[in-house]
Subunit: 189 residues, 2 copies
């Protein structure tokens, strides 16, 4: 086959539109922040956007929750104040399962153009939700044009495999560790 | 020195507040998008935010420019429709230098809390601006509490050295190349 027809084929394929499954993972900054950037952009186009926030409590997301409220963007916080040192993991697991239920309702509801499942990799990573079940459910139930953005470290391999677009945020330099600078309001939360 | 006093010292240091120089670089998605997420977050806190966009023309940033306009966020497009295959690089270089002048005015003006220099790494990388001069100028003139976010591939080493927080966005999986899917409005622009 000639190079030309390969090119034409590529261009035809490239006109395909679909709702993407996007995963922002890695140990660096910018996973949630990049998802918020998409929210901003999509909101600018008049698209219906929403956030379901897993695990972290509201105060850790102060700036963005305030912005979402001002803009009339749906923002649901399903998590407790879970941290890496949490003792009561049963409680966190139950909250994560509850969050996934809410997410499922919103996904099948069909009213969203873009939905963010913030920090959703953790319940998968910790086994509070079965990754294969979640993916199987999404495969059956996600409306074709819905963009779904999943953030968090440790994205399971099966999720990476399932996703359309996966970016790893890699920490090159970090002000906390390297210079002892505290988290800055408006920048990090 | 005991572990305890080290910990106390670390905590004292960690209370330091300052305007960060943040660089989002790498070949992956999410460099500009994460900067927009910070914009969204900072705007939510009532901070004064602005964007100076280098190189790309306005249509490539349609969703975010529309959002910025709706929210009364300053957005200046200084670039032409520069692409990787541009012939007229003199023109692009002149526009980049003009953009840097505008950026300098806004930086010393002192009215911003967060300023994004979008795609600013390119004029540095291509030598249209002298990286050492730019850094020297910032060292002298950047208001201490101003957060400056610089995006783009090929961040020069000296800029990485100068910055407080550097993240590399690494492409793990990309729908264009892997599946022939077109850029999605609201998601990528």
């Amino acid at each position: 086959m000639s190079k030309y027809s390969e090119e034409a084929k590529r261009k035809r394929r490239a006109s395909k539109k679909k709702g993407l499954v996007i995963v922002n993972t890695g140990n660096g900054k910018g996973k949630t922040t990049a998802a918020l950037g998409v929210l901003f952009r999509a909101w600018g186009r008049g698209m219906k956007v929403g956030v379901i926030q897993f695990l972290k409590n509201s105060t850790a997301r102060y700036g963005e929750i305030k912005a979402a409220r001002k803009l009339g963007i749906d923002w649901v916080s399903t998590g407790d104040g879970w941290t890496w040192t949490s003792k009561d993991l049963d409680e966190s697991a139950a909250l994560a399962r509850h969050g996934w239920q809410l997410a499922q309702e919103r996904i099948v509801g069909g009213e969203y153009d873009v939905l963010i499942l913030d920090e959703f990799t953790y319940p998968l990573h910790f086994g509070w939700l079965e990754t294969e079940e979640v993916i199987g459910w999404l495969r059956e139930n996600k409306p074709p044009m819905l963009h779904l953005i999943i953030t968090g470290r440790y994205a399971p391999d099966a999720l990476v495999e399932f996703a359309d677009l996966v970016t790893e945020m890699v920490e090159v330099k970090h002000p906390y560790r390297d210079q002892g600078i505290t988290a800055q309001p408006g920048i990090e939360f």
